[in-house]
Subunit: 623 residues, 2 copies
Amino acid sequence: MVHGYMGKILRLDLTRNEAVAEETPDDLIKQFIGGRGFGIKILWDELSPNIDPLSPENKLVFTIGPLTSTGVHSASRWLAQFKSPLTGTYGRSSGGSHFGAELKFAGYDALIIEGRASKPTYVWVNEDKVEFRDANLVWGMTTGNTRDFLLDETDKKARMVTIGPAGERLVKIAAIVTDDMRTASRGGGGAVMGAKNLKAIVVRGTKKPEPYDKEALKEAIKEQAESYKSNFAFEGFSNFGTNMSVHFMYLAGHNPTFNFKQEELDIVERFSPEVLGQYMVKHGGCHICMIRCWKTYKLTKGAYAGTVSDMPEYETYFAYGSNIGNKNIESIVYANKLSDEYGIDTISAGSAIAFAIELYEKGIISKYETDGLELRWGDPDVLVELVKRIALRDGFGNILAEGTKKAAEIIGRGAEKYAQQIKGLELPGYDPRTAKAQGLSYVTSPIGASHCIGWNTFELIGFAIGKPTDPLTTEGKGELAKYCQDETALSEVGIICHFPVNMGMVNAELCSKLLYAATGIEEFRDPKYLWLVGEKIFNLERAFNVREGFTRQDDTAPERILREPVPRPPSKGQIFELEQLLNDYYKVRGWDIKTGIPTKDKFEELGLSYVAKTLEEMGKLPE
Amino acid sequence: MVHGYMGKILRLDLTRNEAVAEETPDDLIKQFIGGRGFGIKILWDELSPNIDPLSPENKLVFTIGPLTSTGVHSASRWLAQFKSPLTGTYGRSSGGSHFGAELKFAGYDALIIEGRASKPTYVWVNEDKVEFRDANLVWGMTTGNTRDFLLDETDKKARMVTIGPAGERLVKIAAIVTDDMRTASRGGGGAVMGAKNLKAIVVRGTKKPEPYDKEALKEAIKEQAESYKSNFAFEGFSNFGTNMSVHFMYLAGHNPTFNFKQEELDIVERFSPEVLGQYMVKHGGCHICMIRCWKTYKLTKGAYAGTVSDMPEYETYFAYGSNIGNKNIESIVYANKLSDEYGIDTISAGSAIAFAIELYEKGIISKYETDGLELRWGDPDVLVELVKRIALRDGFGNILAEGTKKAAEIIGRGAEKYAQQIKGLELPGYDPRTAKAQGLSYVTSPIGASHCIGWNTFELIGFAIGKPTDPLTTEGKGELAKYCQDETALSEVGIICHFPVNMGMVNAELCSKLLYAATGIEEFRDPKYLWLVGEKIFNLERAFNVREGFTRQDDTAPERILREPVPRPPSKGQIFELEQLLNDYYKVRGWDIKTGIPTKDKFEELGLSYVAKTLEEMGKLPE
């Protein structure tokens, strides 16, 4: 068994109620290291193109990495990877908390879920003992109740992921939620679980990984801790979490308002860390992480008094706040809590709500389509009602539950003009017009518009990779986007959280030290190798989408982003220069400019000849 | 130390942060046995008359009994006793679950809480180690969240009682709630805790009581189990809990509708056990009880989909259902859950809502008083909204939060005519006009209109104490009311749950066997002694109220009950014949007919000469 790994991948066939622990292949380890690398390689190898993401043919892979539970900070994230029912692309969503660590303690490097259970089921993984259990009792329950009942039925110390009613109802923006309300929410992983009749996975274990060089690992962890402490963002992030940046990002022009219309938002100082901090009553964090960016909120006044919830993250303040013109913080906290309990993605849900409000404003839909709800900007009741109705597929919510892109198709009448999505995934809280590398990341992301798959923190704050950067210029943005994308990919083999990576607390050099000390694999000593693996992962993800039929024409942005100039400073007048930016980016990537498909040479350079071969056979490889 | 007892009463002075474990006096044990007897004796001895119930001078006594945690079934209830802020009378409210058992394991026969903490506090009783801890974190939280945080801070295996936001806000109908949502909800005990700045009491222990004769106790428990199994109600009650009786009680005419207007309720079969049973997903029960009357409900459809909650009890179906004309079962389940989380009494809250709806119907109040809410019979949204607003003292809810009697005073304009309360406590779900002994129990109950302090099950079903009974006649009802009141009191020294007692599963003879085997106290061998103690307790509670100024004129009923004939069969035309029934009852009780005050002779007969002396000195004893 390779150091740092547990040596087993657990394959769960829900159709046959079969659990098989397979050996983690050495070649997979060397080529893809872990985490995101494992997931995309398994999906590439095992999924046929053009399957229905909600059919038994789809697979759901949960991965962790060789750094998980080794004492390395911020290394306990887990990824859910699957073909997305929201976008039809490859899907990757990242979750935190203790589930990943527990999976390692149970003795596994990954879980592969396949088939479909004949009735509501949950899986109880107690180290080598795996049971497929009846989930009838908890089917229909919110995530918190499901946790309470299933930990009662299994082991109070177990850790788990579950879906809420939204996942069961195949809501396309349904999330996967941990026992303590951390979510892997993007791209509809919850619907994939729901389609498999899989309510939850409960895991418990007592095994420990055995690092290769404990002394060197300790040293590298010390270096990591020092790097954290000396980072410009550490103290703020540790004290306030993503509360730190909401007001700032608005002032910097990045935070979108009113469905990306970008009109000014009054009393925006309500989103300042000082105001938001008033709700904080407790700090928390994932398994082994000195940042502790989780905050617990308590509401004691107003309509939502009595609510205790995880703090909404930056993206939720955007999605349930500024982007629908809502400055009622309490309603955002409450809707965030509902979203965790029902199990939906707050970014996509908020974007669907903003979209609906704008359609209502423009007269494209009316009270007759919304079950009598008057959709007004900034109305907390609209937010709370629509979150529920989307999650439960109730009335008008049933349309929005398909995601903004599909909802626009259903509604017709020109609605697609107002759908802020890329490849079907709703845009997060940074306007592509105001940060061009960030925008490029969205446009070229393999999962649709995601801020987590190449987040350009340093562009957003105007200082990138050692030198000042103007977020509004297009120059050099292809390179910057590629850099952040590959860096995120290389760190997500560990799996290191993308926050410390994108904020410069962890770089490839440190990743390399950590990975070599944990595994003893010679290749991992070289940061260049990691960059290669990061690029390889990103290109394999691209290839997955190419196989599904995606090309350059899908690397686009909503009409508003491409044509409507931003009306407010400091980005006033800006649009997103799509074609120019893409040309630059493809060139840097070594991809065919016309089709946006990696060239045969690029695939070969990355050790992906077999991928090139497959695409060639399908007639999808550029000349 | 006397067998069956733990030998200590823990006195907690919140003003001084002092905890003192006093020896449980032998004389108290012999005279009052435990539970309700202990509580009223302590309150009589230690409270001055006419104190403000929300002042530091009020005391809150938590009691258990010598049968708690001895293996006896249904003996783990605990009582909260205090001067009620809702009624100004003596207050006794009964709760279930494991808190009482844990208090015994911690080594105590009772807790006495006095004074007022200078800031939000909770008490952590870990056997002999008692800490007064800062409750700032959980202040403002609902009961479920409070449990999660405090068990985290203390011991996951601890048990607790807490208040929700309602208790903190001194809502006069605020409940005390256990870690698993069982409530002692009547009379505003939650507000007494709130006024003392006491958010919660968390208890943990490992001690065990030592019964006097284990063999005899085992035998008596066997007899108890057999008595349960052969009882007519056991199977139904075990399978359905109080779901069993809702539809039946409507058909029998007892279940009140539309604020006791008693108009017919259509589609009332929605309240049948078959329909209600569809929501049941799990059975549960208090510490050591073979009935297991708790049921967990799960809602999977409609507006409240995702809700998991304790089943509403009979009284809640009445209060949030028939009495407000609401046949939407899901809304009752949801509002019940909210009530547990915010910590309010469902009977009083529902009655306040029914009262408000009738005032609105009659035009006594309008949208201008209700913050725009249109109060209509049978509207689930009115129920849910008003439950929240009462619990949070929000707008119009702030008036109803005072309880129906006080709310009627505040509103004026003849509103008191529609307030269905006795001594300030709202009527439970049996119409006094349709069951005269039950009505007498309400009218003469020391805590106001309670169904728990002499519940006449057998009158309600037409067969009382061995012979057929017509609930509509007045004859012999004084005796029947006294019988049930004294029987409840004598069983609540154990403390045996009033359900098995009032349904005839446990009688005084069995109580006597259990108590003697547990304690070895010679007097307890004689059931007559228990009847004497029961009557003594009831008379001492009466004396407490007499000392506060209550007399015959307070033993009355709402105008509707006294003057409006029931409009529907089988009780059509009935009113409650107050004076005639009271005269009969006082005579049977040996109380002065004119004033309703126990005579000196009666007090002396019951060993309460010191009580007679006090009242005599106050000029309150009848000639």
